[in-house]
Every structure is written in structure tokens, then in C-alpha cells.
């Protein structure tokens, strides 16, 4: 348990610290000339950062052979969803004035909104089923369901890339990290593991 503690502190810190900064700057009126836009971009950025961090836990376990990354994955995932909900709420309240009609119009006409909203629905289902109870109830299907994180991440990055005017550096950086993390899920990692297993197995027989 003691070995897990620093990992848990780090995972909570990754969520709480950026949130506290947002609160601090809001209270001090230091969000610049367009505070709504600032908070939309800030919460969107942190959603992607936390999402990619969550997805980095499996590769981290593969590389370090530690189990702690997997055990703090849920905390990171729920913080991701928290930032996503903040991001979505700011848009609903300040951009749309809570108009359902305008939301419908955006969902139909604005592709980046359609993509973002779909990603939110996916992560919503993951957040709901994140409890141990749901994990037991769904058994093997839980793992299948939670692979929704992959399409959600892809949609999230495209959502960002779609609305940039000319300077695509930042969204492309997210895309590069995402592709790297996805590459860990490709079968080649199994081949490597398989060959390692074979090696160790063959060395044992000798």
C-alpha cells in the first residue's frame, strides 16, 4: 500500500493542481481579455493531457513491470472526465446560453462539435461503469467497453485539430503522442513479449 501512495498522490495532483490554478486565476480576474475562451481552451487542453496520461499507464506497466500505473488509472480517467465536463459546461452556458436548439444546430452543422460531443458520450459511459461493482457485473465485456477510450482520444484530438486556423503545432503534438501510445497496443508488442518469453523459456530448458 505504501508503494502505491506516491502514485495516488501524483494522480490526484495532476487533476487538482490545474483545477486550483484555474480557480485562482478566475478569482483574481487574470484570465485575459477573453476569459470564456481561455477557460474553454484550458479545460480542453487538460482533458487531452489527462486522457493521454491515462492511456500512458498501460505502456508504463509494460516498460517498468510495475502494477501501480494500472492501479491509479481510474483516478486519472475520472479527472479526465471532470475536465471534459467543465469544458462542455462552459460551452453550453457561455457559447450557447443553454439553448438546446443551438446545441442541435451545432451538432448537425459543426463537425468539430459532433466529434467532441461523441467523445463526451463515450467517456460518460466509461465514467459510469468505472466502479468496481460495474467492473464485476460486466466481467469480460467491461474490458471491451473500456476500449472506447481509443476512439474517444482520436475524436478528441481531431476535434482540436479541426478548429485551429493556421498554427497546428499543438494539436499535432497531441496527435503524435496519441499515435505513439496507440502503437504500444499494436500486436508487435506481443511479438516482442512472445519472443522474450520464448527466449527465457529456451534459456530455462538449457
Amino acid at each position: 500500500m505504501n508503494r502505491l501512495l506516491p502514485w495516488r498522490v501524483a494522480a490526484w495532483g495532476l487533476g487538482i493542481i490545474p483545477l486550483l490554478f484555474a480557480v485562482k486565476w478566475t478569482l483574481q480576474s487574470r484570465l485575459g481579455a477573453n476569459p470564456v475562451e481561455f477557460l474553454e481552451h484550458y479545460t480542453g487542453d487538460w482533458t487531452l493531457r489527462l486522457l493521454l496520461t491515462t492511456m500512458a499507464m498501460t505502456p508504463l506497466r509494460m516498460l517498468t513491470r510495475l502494477t501501480e500505473p494500472i492501479r491509479v488509472r481510474r483516478i486519472l480517467g475520472l479527472w479526465t472526465f471532470t475536465f471534459l465536463c467543465l469544458h462542455f459546461s462552459i460551452y453550453l452556458v457561455f457559447d450557447l446560453g443553454l439553448s438546446v436548439l443551438q446545441l442541435g444546430e451545432d451538432l448537425v452543422k459543426r463537425t468539430y462539435i459532433t466529434l467532441g460531443f461523441t467523445a463526451w458520450l463515450m467517456l460518460l459511459s466509461l465514467a459510469i461503469t468505472s466502479t468496481t461493482g460495474w467492473q464485476r457485473r460486466l466481467k469480460r465485456r467491461w474490458t471491451t467497453l473500456h476500449q472506447l477510450i481509443y476512439p474517444a482520444a482520436i475524436l478528441g484530438v481531431i476535434h482540436y485539430l479541426w478548429l485551429v486556423k493556421a498554427d497546428t503545432r499543438e494539436p499535432l503534438l497531441y496527435l503524435a503522442i496519441l499515435l505513439t501510445l496507440l502503437a504500444f497496443r499494436l500486436p508487435w508488442s506481443h511479438w516482442v513479449q512472445d519472443s522474450r518469453l520464448k527466449e527465457s523459456a529456451s534459456s530455462e530448458t538449457h
Binding site: 484570465l31 485575459g32 481579455a33 477573453n34 451545432d106 452543422k109 493556421a166
Partner: protein, 320 residues
């Protein structure tokens, strides 16, 4: 009998300078303390940590003021000067305020050429008579769905253009921004096709609302807002109002314009503010005024219906 004596200067400076700007010095000192505090926290970069204002800009003589924003509140100086699109100094909204100090605005000369009888290479101080400046309070609407109201100091564009006696072949006017990678390090990345260029049809350029600005808030224009000379075309999206002009060229054919070159289906040559014509990726029906939280409705021609006659025979959906 009521005798109403009008004030010689219809708008008092206290009316156009929001209280927040008057309080700025104290806020600056406060923020310096907070900046120290947050520096110890480290890691995160405050969006407004850089509060060094350019309110120390030299004053200009303003002969008359025309409030042409329907009585709407003027946006805070701090906001107008710290929320800019000037990609030569970075693509972030705060980058120009941070980096435009590198721009040398004197000596500065402007080349005027093309279809005119009196072309020339004129020093800015010979081009602009500081005793003949007026102020216009205009709405400014960016294609990115934010807007502001700014008091510009300058002169009607037509007044300056006529001095060069454009010929009957002058159907358009092209404008070019300075392109100097020494002063503008961000141009090395080639986000846009430098130099930044813009253009107007000659009748648009000669319209009485078309304005050339050398000042803001009655003071010399800050570099990040396009010093020493910029266009101010209030009925068009902000990117048409080109900054830091070094060349004006009368042309017979429609000139190439930067954003149009990058994505012609998204940024038209005309780019008149029009709530009915969406940007392909987002709606233009509403806008967020700097200093306000909720969006307001966007007005056709940004609330300047007097320019409508320029486009009476055109389909604004085709010629967006």
C-alpha cells in the same frame, strides 16, 4: 427655454477609458506580488502575468471625435492591446504584446506604386500630418467570433490615397505588411505566406468609413496593434485591417490576399461581416465582445449599413 451647450469634445476621456484602465497601475503592482507568489508554485504559466501596459504611449492631437459604434461601451485599453492577432509576432493572443517590442517604427517609409500618377517612397512623418488627425470609435469584429469597440486615431483612407492620383486603371488597392525576420522572428515558421498582404476594391478603399490608424485611445498606436500605420475597415472581418503597412499598390486586377491564399473557401476576398454567411467550420451569427461573458448577435456589415450600396449588385453568399 432649454439652451443646450455642446461640449467642444463630445466624449470626455473619462467616458472612453474604462475605470479598470485607471486602476491599472495598482493592479500591476498587485500582480507583481502575485507573480512572485505563483513563480514559487511554478509550472503553470499565467495567461495575464505580463501586465506591463503600454499606456505610456505618447499623446496625439485629436481634432474631432466621431462615435460610430452606436453608443456601445469602448473596450478596455488593456484588452485591446493584449489580445491581438499579429502572427509575425506569434500565434497566441498575448504573443504580440510580448514580442512586438522588437518592431522598429522609426525610421519608417511607405512605398506607394502601381496605377497612379504620383508614386513615391515616402517617410511616414511626411505621409501623416500629426495636426490633421481625427478619432473614430468603431466596432471591430474578428472572423474568430470575438469583437471589441476601439477609439482609433488617424485619417480617412481616401484622403491619403487621393494624394497619389490613382488612374482609371486603379481598380483595386493592395497593402503589404513589413516582412523582416530580424524584427519578426515568428515569420521563420512560415505559418502564413509572408509578407502579409491585403486588398480592397477601389470604391471600398475610397468609402468614407475606410480609415487609416496611427493611434489608439488618443495615443500613438502600440506596436502589437499595427504601428506605425494600419488599416481600420470596420465593416469587414479584422484580418482585412492590415497592420504595419510598408507598401500601398494600386492595381488593375484583384490582388492576392494572405488568408484567402491559405484557405480561399474559408476567407473570401471581401470578408464583409455577415451573420448569415457562416465560416465553413463555425457560425458567424453571434460574437463575444471582449469584456462580456455571453455572446451577442452579429450585425450585417458589423452594424454599418451605409456600406451596403457598395455590394448592391452582388450575391454576398458567393462573394463572401
Amino acid at each position: 427655454m432649454l439652451i443646450k451647450v455642446s461640449h467642444p469634445h463630445p466624449i470626455k476621456p473619462s467616458e472612453i477609458t474604462p475605470e479598470s484602465t485607471f486602476r491599472d497601475r495598482r493592479r500591476f503592482l498587485l500582480n507583481m506580488g502575485l507573480a512572485t507568489a505563483s513563480a514559487t508554485l511554478g509550472g503553470c504559466d499565467s495567461p495575464s502575468s505580463d501586465r506591463a501596459t503600454n499606456i505610456g504611449q505618447a499623446s496625439l492631437t485629436v481634432n474631432k471625435t466621431s462615435a460610430m459604434a452606436g453608443g456601445e461601451n469602448v473596450t478596455a485599453y488593456e484588452d485591446i492591446t493584449h489580445y491581438n492577432n499579429f502572427y509575425e509576432f506569434g500565434t497566441g493572443k498575448q504573443d504580440p504584446a510580448r514580442n512586438a517590442g522588437r518592431l522598429r517604427i522609426r525610421p519608417w517609409s511607405v512605398v506607394v506604386d502601381g496605377e497612379c500618377e504620383a508614386p513615391g517612397h515616402i517617410d511616414i512623418d511626411d505621409l501623416i500630418n500629426p495636426q490633421a488627425l481625427e478619432e473614430r470609435i468603431y466596432r471591430h469584429r474578428c472572423v474568430e467570433v470575438w469583437s471589441m469597440v476601439a477609439p482609433w486615431t488617424g485619417l480617412p483612407l481616401a484622403e491619403l490615397l487621393k494624394r497619389f492620383r490613382p488612374t482609371s486603371n486603379a481598380k483595386f488597392v493592395a497593402f503589404y505588411t513589413l516582412f523582416d525576420s530580424q524584427q519578426m522572428p515568428d515569420t521563420a515558421r512560415g505559418v502564413l505566406n509572408w509578407p502579409y498582404r491585403e486588398g480592397l476594391r477601389i470604391d471600398e478603399a475610397m468609402h468614407p468609413l475606410a480609415f487609416l490608424s496611427v493611434g489608439l485611445y488618443g495615443r500613438v498606436l502600440p506596436n502589437q496593434n499595427g504601428a506605425p500605420l494600419r488599416l481600420t475597415i470596420p465593416w469587414k472581418y479584422g484580418f482585412k485591417s492590415i497592420k504595419s503597412i510598408v507598401r500601398i499598390q494600386f492595381t488593375e486586377r484583384r490582388p492576392a490576399t494572405t488568408w484567402n491564399q491559405l484557405a480561399s473557401e474559408e476567407y473570401g476576398f471581401y470578408s464583409n461581416v455577415n451573420p448569415a454567411v457562416d465560416h465553413p467550420r463555425w457560425s458567424q451569427a453571434r460574437e463575444r465582445r471582449l469584456g462580456e461573458l455571453f455572446k451577442r448577435k452579429t450585425l450585417l456589415f458589423n452594424g454599418y449599413p451605409e456600406v451596403a450600396s457598395l455590394y448592391s449588385s452582388m450575391d454576398l453568399r458567393t462573394f463572401f
